[in-house]
Amino acid sequence: MSQSLTNAQSATVHKPGSQVMVDMLLEHNVDTMFGYLGGVVLPFFDKLYDAPINFIIPRHEQGGCHMADAYARATGKVGVVVATSGPGATNLTTGLATAMMDSTPLVAISGQVRTDLIGNDAFQEADTTGITRPITKHNVIVKNPNELAQAFREAFYIAQTGRPGPVLIDVPVDMQIAQCPIPPKEKIELPGFRVRHQGHARQIGTAVKAINEAKRPVLYVGGGVIISGAGQALRDFAKKANIPVTMTLMALGAYDQTRPESLDMLGMHGSAYANYAVQNCDLLISVGARFDDRVTGALTNFAPHARVVHIDLDPSSISKNVNVDIPVVGDARQVLEAMANEVEYRPRKDWFEQIASWKARHPFQYDRQTDVIKPQSVIEELHRQTGGEALICTGVGQHQMWAAQFYKYHRPRQFITSGGLGTMGFGLPAAIGAKLACPDQTVIDIDGDSSFNMTLTELSTAVMYELPIKVCLLNNGFMGMVRQWQELFYGRRYSKSSLKNPDFARLAEAFGAVGISVHKKEQVPAAIEQMLSETRPVVADFHVDPEENVWPMVPAGKSLHEMDGLDIFEMA
């Protein structure tokens, strides 16, 4: 061996792989992570014993993955989760798919059986990279000690560069034991992984010209605006150009909903005024949104009078679902800032008057007179008592839509929900992750009884780590959203859509949390007051109207303006 080679080798530090893994987490400023033990991750956990990392053990790997996901959504940092091989890794999959659909930066570490056993159906072996390939942005199995450190560096880089997403690193147990080098940190160069941050100047120019000429423009913004930290840029741009803003479920909070230019959420259960505005606009400016079918309704008749500007970091989002007239590939914040420099103010008086009249005529409504507890009223009261400041997480279903309609968000990262995958059971673990990320904020999981049932075991995690999250359960005794569809489209045949629930308040007490049961309308304000004042985790179980529906609704296959349920209250 030549002299120079020996020198180069001795200059590189070698450590057991398990220690390299911990070092890599610290190198990327990981101070909080989530995960669950198992045979093939024991070397790694042994090194975690002394590591300055706040480690949270969920009760199920899915919960841990959602916690890491929400932690990332609340902070913008990369969430980290670890699981053992086989069942540990398969339990991560729902969480990975959830993060993938909503573009959350995540690094998931899975243990794997020894490299010499791979492919032999060894105990707790699963083809983790094979299983998770379509639900991760990238994944890799480390089979060479020389590649371990780099795998971590690339994982953190890929997870948060460009359109974020989950990256999984599968680490066989022998790699954790082997001596692995930690080469000096270099700039990461991945051939073929290029991200265009700045929009193309000519495309921006074309977009600005169209915006200046537009008489009835609408900004339609998606989760990309929150991910890119474009909240302020959006406000500045919308103000300077004088354009109303509608948000997708994922973007709620990107624009201050208390402002008159806010059209709130659009889409299947969006506001009538947002949907009318989109259907009548002459220019639709989409920023960091992807024309999801829950947003567009019938594609052929979506925004029929509009030219479409689409600003997105991911070229594959552009013209995927609708034909875009002016595509701008770039980061939402940078493009909005560039456009704000060039765009000109237009009064658009007629357009804003039209919008104001739609807003006045069709606010989100429900029957406020009845004696039963209306789920929407609970959220309104929650909004009132928290001054609109709480960080809200949700499960999936009607309660999620009501949380989107009746709580008014004013800052990015204030609303954390599984939009793309629609994962029931996301709410409670998400609240735990968000509370760890934002200990000073009031974190509330607005949940449905069926969603809550899926992951409520994580109450035990909240109690163990003394995380005073608040579960606001809108308990209708049904899989409400499913029941609504059965009512509307299957002749009210409620096939298998109700469960026998436990007494959630007593269950909460058994976990060591506080339980509150609410059956009467007049008890709601006091119950919320108590819920907000508790210093322990609390479950407030509101027994709400079992057959309340989410309105308005664009039935599947209909165009956005063809909403049902707008005149329900006028008829009554």
């Binding site: 379509p134 073929g192 034909n323």
Partner: protein
């Protein structure tokens, strides 16, 4: 419309599975797929023939490019390309028919690579249309078995002014 896409990918395990899985997951149809090494040992080339309208194929191209291990994707549509398939085909051929068969093989620029009492195996390369034509020609004799690679393709160099 038929498009030939050429993707340069990292020569790492799982990349082909990723590409093939993406096609299945997004319901894109693959007409043919050919993989092989390149002059750079760290890279492989995947040539994929897809049939679809321009918008679908544009999505395919973007989704391919999005895969981290995919370095570069080209759509050869509208370009002057050389596209070739390779086929081995075993055909029934009794001794009396041999001269006739040989003439056909010659016409198609094929090569006899195996021969038995009542059988020939022919190697033939060329554009897909030529391969198809040869298959049709062999059919009346009786095809015993055949195997084809997918299409591989390369764009012709744009001729510079001095060459003209």
């Amino acid at each position: 419309m038929k498009h030939i896409l050429s993707a340069l990918v990292l020569n790492k395990p799982g990349v082909l599975a990723h590409v093939a899985g993406m096609f299945a997951a997004r319901a894109f149809n693959i007409d043919s797929l050919a993989v092989g090494r390149t002059d750079d040992p760290s890279l492989s080339r995947i040539t994929i023939v897809v049939i679809g309208d321009d918008r679908v194929v544009e999505q395919v191209r973007k989704q391919l490019a999005k895969i981290v291990a995919v370095v570069k994707v080209q759509d050869f549509i509208g370009q002057d390309v050389v596209a070739r398939d390779l086929m081995l085909i075993g055909v029934t051929c009794v001794p009396e028919k041999r001269p006739e068969m040989m003439a056909l093989i010659e016409m198609f620029n094929g090569k006899v690579v195996d021969i038995a009492q009542k059988y020939v195996m022919v190697e033939i390369a060329g554009p897909e249309s030529k391969i198809e034509a040869f298959i049709d020609t062999c059919r009346p004799y009786g095809i015993k078995s055949m195997v084809r690679t997918g299409t591989v393709a390369m764009a012709r160099r744009a001729r510079s002014k001095t060459e003209l």
